[in-house]
Each structure stands twice: as structure tokens, then as C-alpha cells.
């Protein structure tokens, strides 16, 4: 069906910073000031060309709270994924009660970057947890190529309205982000 994806926010990093928010209302990095709300049941975030200014650092994510647009940094994120490497055995990776959703280490150029799609479920629902599923292709700083499939949940019943990307060290130097609503 044509026109089922509606672009609601987009941002391209032009100068490095430690923290970016896609969606997130007035805290968002773009001028759209878009807040994920019940206009759409599901949101899809696509991003590419994400790399860092510090070799081996990571671009982690958190969800932003609708109540004040700030990132929820409580230790309530659980995640699980299958990491599929081209040059080593696949393995499962999981964690509970972390204050962020982790990613693999990145490099400082496009060939050591990551890209992918995150689907956001239940974000505007104040009485349910916020979930994501994600599919990534990642070339680490080593460099090793890995595909990641998995999901994560913020186990707090609250409305969330965006996704924060933040560097565990240094800055995120590059990235293009597009947030779509999936038309009901």
C-alpha cells in the first residue's frame, strides 16, 4: 500500500556531539520537535553511516520520557540479541537491568559504522512497557562484520516519545536518522 510510511522526523549529524535524540519532542536534535504519540501504533527508525570520533566507542540508546522529554537512564533496560559474525561463531548476547541498550564498538570512518532499523512498539502507551525490535549490520573497529537481530524493553510502564543515541566515550561523529510512523 503506497504511502504507508509517514516521515515524522529526520536528522543528519553535521558536527559531532555526545548525545542525539530522534523524536523526543522539544529535546529532539532536529527542528521537527516530533514526539512519538498515538497518531501511529508503530514507529520505524532507520539510520545509517553511524560512526564515532573515538575508535572502539559505542553508540548506545535509551528511550526518552514523554513527561519531560529526557532520556530514561534508570536501570530498567533488558535486551537480547543474536550476533552473527562473518569471521567467528555466532553467539547470543543478553543483559538485564542496564541503564542503556548496548551496541557493538564502532570505528571512526564509514567502513566501521553501523546501520539498521528499529521498530518501536507501545511507546505512547503510559500503562505498558516500551519495546523495540532491531536489525543492524555493524562493522566494528576491529574490523569485524556482524549482523544483529534482537529486541529490548524498558520495563517501566510509562509513555516514551523518542530514542536517544549517546556515545559511551567521545562523540558520535556521523549518522543519518529517519523516523517514520506506520500508518494505521
Amino acid at each position: 500500500m503506497a504511502g504507508s510510511l509517514v516521515l515524522v522526523d529526520e536528522y543528519s549529524i553535521s558536527s559531532g556531539a555526545s548525545s542525539f535524540i530522534i523524536g523526543g519532542g522539544s529535546a529532539g536534535s532536529s527542528t521537527y520537535n516530533y514526539s512519538m504519540d498515538s497518531t501511529y501504533n508503530v514507529y520505524m527508525l532507520q539510520f545509517q553511516d553511524v560512526y564515532m570520533d573515538t575508535d572502539g566507542s559505542k553508540a548506545r540508546i535509551r528511550f526518552t520520557k514523554t513527561s519531560d522529554n529526557s532520556a530514561d537512564s534508570t536501570s530498567n533496560y533488558d535486551r537480547a540479541s543474536l550476533q552473527m559474525y562473518t569471521n567467528q561463531a555466532f553467539y547470543d548476547s543478553a543483559s538485564t537491568n542496564q541503564s542503556y541498550i548496548d551496541s557493538l564498538a564502532l570505528g571512526t570512518t564509514n567502513p566501521e559504522s553501523y546501520l539498521g532499523t528499529i521498530y518501536c512498539f507501545n511507546f505512547p502507551n503510559a500503562s505498558e512497557y516500551s519495546f523495540i525490535t532491531r536489525e543492524l549490520i555493524n562493522t566494528t573497529n576491529t574490523p569485524e562484520t556482524a549482523g544483529i537481530m534482537g529486541g529490548a524493553v524498558l520495563t517501566v510502564a510509562q509513555a516514551t516519545n523518542g530514542i536517544q543515541f549517546f556515545a559511551d566515550s567521545g562523540n558520535i561523529d556521523s549518522g543519518e536518522f529517519k523516523l517514520y510512523g506506520l500508518k494505521k
Binding site: 556531539a17 536534535s29 537512564s73 542503556y100 559511551d168
Partner: protein, 105 residues
């Protein structure tokens, strides 16, 4: 070397993050908000300290597991190892990786 506590890592991270603040002569940490690049607020710097300390603790406690996981042969290769070299041979293979990445204590 003794394992460090979260409090010790927090103190380390506090020193590192304080040095990054432009007020202290550092390069600063920045957020991009509404298409404007601005320096972290005090609350965001405080969060960066917590994040850095948590990362350091996680790295200390779990890097050896991740390194081992990445280096162990695949399950089919391990089964092949057992078939050809017996359990003793397989244990020797696994021990190589365990010794390379010892559990911190």
C-alpha cells in the same frame, strides 16, 4: 590486581568527566538539541559520570566473558575436536582461550 568497586570507578569517571568540561579547560561534551549544539548541563554531566563508571565496571567484570565468547570455536568445530581428539583434546583447545582471557580476581 584487586577488582575495583563501582565507587572507585565513579571517582575515576568523575575526574575524567570534570577534565572534559570547558569550564575546566576541556573540549566539553555536547548534546544536539533543536538543531543547536550545546554543552551538557550539570545533570547530563552527572549522568555521563554514572554511565562511564558503569561501563568501566562492566568492562572489568565481563570483558573476559565476551572475549572468550568471541574466540571459542563454533559448536560444530568443537564437536569435531572432541571426535578427533577426545574430551581431553577439546579441553586443551578451550583452555587456550580461557588462559588468554583469565577471569579477573
Amino acid at each position: 590486581m584487586a577488582l575495583k568497586t563501582l565507587e572507585q570507578f565513579t571517582a575515576e569517571a568523575q575526574t575524567e568527566i570534570d577534565a572534559k568540561k570547558t569550564a575546566n579547560g576541556g573540549d566539553g561534551m555536547f548534546a544536539q538539541v533543536n538543531n543547536v549544539r550545546r554543552e551538557f548541563t550539570d545533570a547530563e554531566y552527572d549522568q555521563a559520570v554514572k554511565d562511564s563508571a558503569a561501563s568501566k565496571l562492566d568492562s572489568q567484570d565481563n570483558d573476559y566473558k565476551r572475549n572468550r565468547q568471541a574466540e571459542y570455536p563454533s559448536i560444530p568445530d568443537q564437536l569435531d575436536d572432541i571426535y578427533h581428539n577426545g574430551v581431553a583434546g577439546w579441553k586443551a583447545t578451550i583452555k587456550t582461550t580461557k588462559d588468554k582471557y583469565p577471569k579477573p580476581s
